[in-house]
Symmetry: C2
Subunit: 255 residues, 2 copies
């Protein structure tokens, strides 16, 4: 790898075999050298989970001019932590996560392994962007996202991001993308969350399902609003969740 | 269960056998009926992870006057989601998580299963508090925490919390607790994160370790500062991570 080129660290949560990972690599490989470190198995919904009570292994997957791909036997955050510890030849200039097969808009960001990886890099002081496409299929068509990924990545490589803040970018699917909007995450919650079954021995089990109930469907300051209108959404996400504005009221309550 | 009493939903991330869970139940059982739903196995570091690709099972563990305990074969967030879906007889008045065996101060909140469970209840509109003790041992002495847990829980049951905000409470260990401070999470990062090993076949593996490097050790507005001085810390935590103050600069960058 050429130490004069920018270094781009890439991860995802769908695992090292996911097409979205290779689409992201293809989008940006002319911008710098790439180290991709992805979970050995799919890890959707892993949030910022870390592997505390088990060993981790690294496997070299492929290497070509300027692009090295590894897998780690853990979560997306494990990939970023261990990648930074053991695999990068120098400090990355930017970290990219995805492209996720599925939405991370609304409050899904809190469950997202894609964004868990981006937040981890962000906390390590590296500008980070998570990219997601609103289509779960492994055969999803990512081609429409290319110019947006290139434009956003290039802008962040040139201009940086505020310390402690990373980006959550979502793309609409199965349509031409009309444009891009910088917005907030739509407020909402999940409903009808479990499907119930009975196993062959008569015992019940449950499987997570559900759909996002948007509390502000008509608010043009939100990601869901524009994704529904075929725009890409860009939401700035802060790693530090402290609600500093609540400190006076809380002090009064507990005082 | 008496439908006229408040209902308290309890979970944790150390699992249904952890002493901290039963300490928390003992602290608050005179405040209402209790439904405790905890992971069947320990799930430290699980953040807001959800089980997407596997079934979940519920097991009834114990039942006494006003206290029912269940396990769920998943993560802390699974426990809260499935508890709310299938186990509570009515909407809980408050949700408590812990008492965690170990710290969730500084930026540990983002990895914490204890706080993942609290944030999940918070997003469901239920006032929620995560409690943690800065001592990892299963034999940790929780007795000093009792008056603080009772006081904070009672204040929140009476006064509520701002919508979308929950509390992250940490207790110092092995000492008398001097008092309680409402503060921010200390900014910092983790260093020396992996111990490296070689297995009997000559192959390397890694195990997560590390210590928190506090970037603001002398800042009295932070949790670490007061925990080091034997005070309990209370940090308000917001579920929505949108960095709304960054929208103008980001719009300019990407425009």
């Amino acid at each position: 790898m050429d130490s004069n080129r920018p270094l781009i660290l890439i991860s995802n949560d769908d695992g090292v075999e996911a097409p979205g990972l290779y689409h992201l690599i293809d989008c940006v490989k002319d911008y710098g050298d790439i180290i991709a470190v992805a979970p050995a198995a799919p890890h959707s919904g892993m949030s910022s989970a870390i592997t505390v009570n088990a060993p981790l292994r690294i496997k070299a997957i492929s290497e070509e001019e300027g692009v090295k791909v590894y897998s780690v036997s853990g979560t997306p955050v494990d990939c970023v932590k261990l990648g930074l510890h053991a695999l990068v030849p120098r400090r990355p200039d930017i970290m990219l996560s995805g492209v996720n097969h599925g939405s991370n808009s609304g409050n899904s960001v809190i469950y997202s392994g894609t964004m868990g990886a981006a937040l981890e890099a962000c906390m390590a002081g590296i500008p980070a962007i998570g990219y997601s496409l609103l289509h779960h299929s492994l055969a999803a068509d990512f081609s429409e996202t290319t110019p947006y990924i290139r434009r956003i990545t290039q802008a962040v490589m040139a201009g940086g991001l505020e310390k402690g803040v990373c980006l959550n970018v979502n793309f609409p699917s199965r349509c031409a993308i009309e444009g891009m909007k910088v917005v907030k995450a739509a407020k909402g919650f999940w409903t009808e969350e479990y499907q119930e079954y009975t196993d062959p021995h008569g015992k019940p089990f449950y499987w997570l399902t559900g759909r996002f109930h948007n509390l502000e469907p008509d608010n043009p300051d939100t990601d869901e609003y524009w994704l529904n209108r075929h725009y890409a959404s860009v939401v700035p996400v802060r790693a530090d969740q402290t609600a500093a504005d609540c400190l006076p009221a809380l002090t009064a309550l507990l005082g």
